[in-house]
Amino acid sequence: MARADIQAIVDALWKDQSEGHWKAFVKALPRSGLKYYKVVYPNGKLQRAQDLRKAYAQLYDSKQRPIVKIPISEKKSGAVVGATYYMKGLLTVNKADEWIS
């Protein structure tokens, strides 16, 4: 899959973390060339579900080059919930240089 195509799907996801957009991401993932991820909580804080919107996952290709960032939450009947489930198939990259938790 071309970089542009996955970028379009991710852009849609950033605009609206609906189930439909997440499903499109899951569908595109196997052929996207994306292999690794890192979940980042920018200020480390997580107090309420709303805070998930500040967090993101950096995705990498098989050579561990950073490609795109995606949200890690889903909007479900108005509420924000965690959505790392949709990232199944990706592997943690554990890159130490940008490790935040």
């Binding site: 805070d51 965690g82 130490a96």
Partner: protein, 262 residues
């Protein structure tokens, strides 16, 4: 870290798991997709001739590692058991851990009521944390999950507590006597599948698994089970040092435990 004989540990665990199933009407097990609760499932299969005769509960806060979800689906298919997923909320928690603190037991409590479980198999080990040294193989919890550790039923010989008020449920701890290294040696001996997060990537691995928010990778080059066993033989670090929650005051953990945090 002391390496114990695996055979008596295995026998005892199988005895306790069978006892739970045969003594209580409606049993469930907690599964975090970590090494301990997965080993518990492997022991359960040994106890019941290849089957897992009770449902397995995952309390999911929505931000577990993707590998953990993948492992959940892969193993539940491979070993053919039923998984009940309870969705826990991320919200302010007086204990300071919004992801995995008191919010998880709250969800568990609702599940127990909904399904009417009277016994819950939990894969804690005594060597994990100081206060777990006081746990029993079977230990009652009241409706609010409180653990009255000073007033636990006597547990002697193979006679475990069974008297229960309708409001209570029994926590069953078949892995109580295992040490961390014993679990890994058993995983090696029995070829038990484990979550790939335990193995090193880019010089880091996870030693104890929580969710993506509260778990930190530790420096390690252990790439397989043998490496991990070798690493544990020399480490002086505590197992749960990669879990941010434990770094807080110990009393907080104590209160969590009394509230039913697993």
């Amino acid at each position: 870290m002391i390496e114990q004989d695996l055979k008596p540990l295995e026998e005892k665990s199988i005895y306790v798991i069978r006892e739970a199933k045969l003594k209580f009407k409606n049993v469930a097990a907690l599964w975090s997709m970590g090494k301990d609760s997965t080993t518990m499932l492997a022991l359960t299969r040994k106890a019941f001739l290849g089957k897992i005769p009770f449902p397995v509960i995952h309390i999911d806060n929505g931000i577990d590692f993707p590998e953990t979800y993948a492992f959940r689906e892969w193993l539940s298919k491979k070993w053919n058991f039923k998984v009940i997923v309870g969705r826990s909320e991320i919200k302010p928690d007086p204990m300071g851990s919004a992801c995995c603190g008191r919010n998880k037991p709250e969800t568990l409590k609702k599940l127990l009521e909904e399904y009417g479980f009277d016994a819950l198999i939990v894969s804690i080990r005594r060597d994990e944390h100081g206060i777990r040294a006081k746990e029993r193989y079977m230990s009652p919890r009241d409706r609010d999950f409180r653990w009255d550790y000073k007033n636990q039923p006597a547990e002697l010989w193979d006679d475990y507590a069974s008297k229960l008020d309708a409001k209570e449920h029994m926590r069953v701890h078949p892995l109580l006597d295992w040490n961390e290294i014993d679990v890994w040696r058993y995983i090696k001996r029995e070829h038990i599948p484990v979550n790939p997060l335990y193995f090193s990537r880019n010089g880091f691995r996870y030693r104890s698994l929580g969710c993506t928010h509260c778990t930190v990778a530790l420096k390690s080059n252990a790439k397989n089970v043998d490496d991990i066993i070798r690493e544990l033989r020399t480490t002086r670090q505590e197992e749960r040092s990669g879990r941010s929650m434990d770094k807080e005051h110990e009393a907080a953990m104590e209160r969590l435990r009394a509230l039913g945090y697993m």
